[in-house]
Symmetry: C7
Subunit: 71 residues, 7 copies
Amino acid sequence: MIMPMKILEENLNKKVSLLLKDNRILEGILTGYDEYMNMVMDSVDEIGNDVNKKLGTVIIRGSNVVRISPA
Amino acid sequence: MIMPMKILEENLNKKVSLLLKDNRILEGILTGYDEYMNMVMDSVDEIGNDVNKKLGTVIIRGSNVVRISPA
Amino acid sequence: MIMPMKILEENLNKKVSLLLKDNRILEGILTGYDEYMNMVMDSVDEIGNDVNKKLGTVIIRGSNVVRISPA
Amino acid sequence: MIMPMKILEENLNKKVSLLLKDNRILEGILTGYDEYMNMVMDSVDEIGNDVNKKLGTVIIRGSNVVRISPA
Amino acid sequence: MIMPMKILEENLNKKVSLLLKDNRILEGILTGYDEYMNMVMDSVDEIGNDVNKKLGTVIIRGSNVVRISPA
Amino acid sequence: MIMPMKILEENLNKKVSLLLKDNRILEGILTGYDEYMNMVMDSVDEIGNDVNKKLGTVIIRGSNVVRISPA
Amino acid sequence: MIMPMKILEENLNKKVSLLLKDNRILEGILTGYDEYMNMVMDSVDEIGNDVNKKLGTVIIRGSNVVRISPA
């Protein structure tokens, strides 16, 4: 039995892929999170519906997150 | 009377199918969950509206989940 | 005066029909529930917008439920 | 000053009309409710966008309710 | 500084107009409310997108309310 | 460091512009608010998608608010 | 491990870009926030779907925020 928060911890400082409710995907290094699954990522590439962006550091509100996976 | 959380426990380390609010289906091994129905799955195949993906390990936020069934 | 949870209790191990927010209908035997109206059903037939499925055992998150009725 | 819950109490065992967020209307006898405005109705006629149904007893989750009025 | 609840109190037994999230407007006499902004109105005219209705007494769940104004 | 509630306080009895989730804009004098960002405005002009309205006093439920700015 | 709130603190009085759920982007100086991620920004440029606006000071309700990044 692995707690979801434990997987976040194991992926600290590693590259993850984050799917948001609006279908955006953010790929970057997971550098932090809190108990609401608010997250901090570095070196972020955002893959949107129309356009991709380089974003650097990003804070994501947890309520927008669908799934997180190691990238 | 079977509690929903008890069914999750019985399906630990087994293959489950998870329907998300955006109509995605994730199939994989359920390796963990918490009291918010946040889940961890391994060896995940994502069956989306347009495209399928192999995702490996995935954390899913419980608020996106519609139903879970043994696969 | 009948409490909603009392009706759930009376329908344990009986066939119910469950309408979800995305318009899916799940029909099956109600085998469990909790205080959030998360539910467990067995021998489930899912009647979707496009396609029907046999699902066996299913956990449904209460936040997706619109109405429950004996079937 | 009349509390909303008091009006529910006054309509117990009377016919009410219930508008849901998805535009369905449920008409039937209000036989119960709880503090979340989850409700129990008997002899329910459901008036949907496309089709009407006879439903008998129904539990409705309060979070789907827009308005309740004596019918 | 006027608290929003104070304005509700001042409009008790007066005609108000209530805009709901689904764009319906309910006009009628405000006869009650609670701390969740659930409301009771009497002699209600509902002005919908397609059709108007006379509704008499209505309970409105606060979570559907956008704005309230004296009518 | 300025707390959001402090800015509301500074704008009491001044003209503000309020954007709602349904894209309506309300312009008027901010006369009150509470800790949920429920607000009271006077002399309100509502700028909707199709039509503008003069509304006088308005209570706005905070959950519908996107942003507030001095007007 | 960096907490999301710590990143907000580090960006106080710096230019940030804020993506909202309705796809608007607000760019301006972050001058404050609270524990709900309600935010205060100064010298805000709003980049909407159809039109851009100069907004000056803005309070943003946290529940509308998708992501924040240094701009």
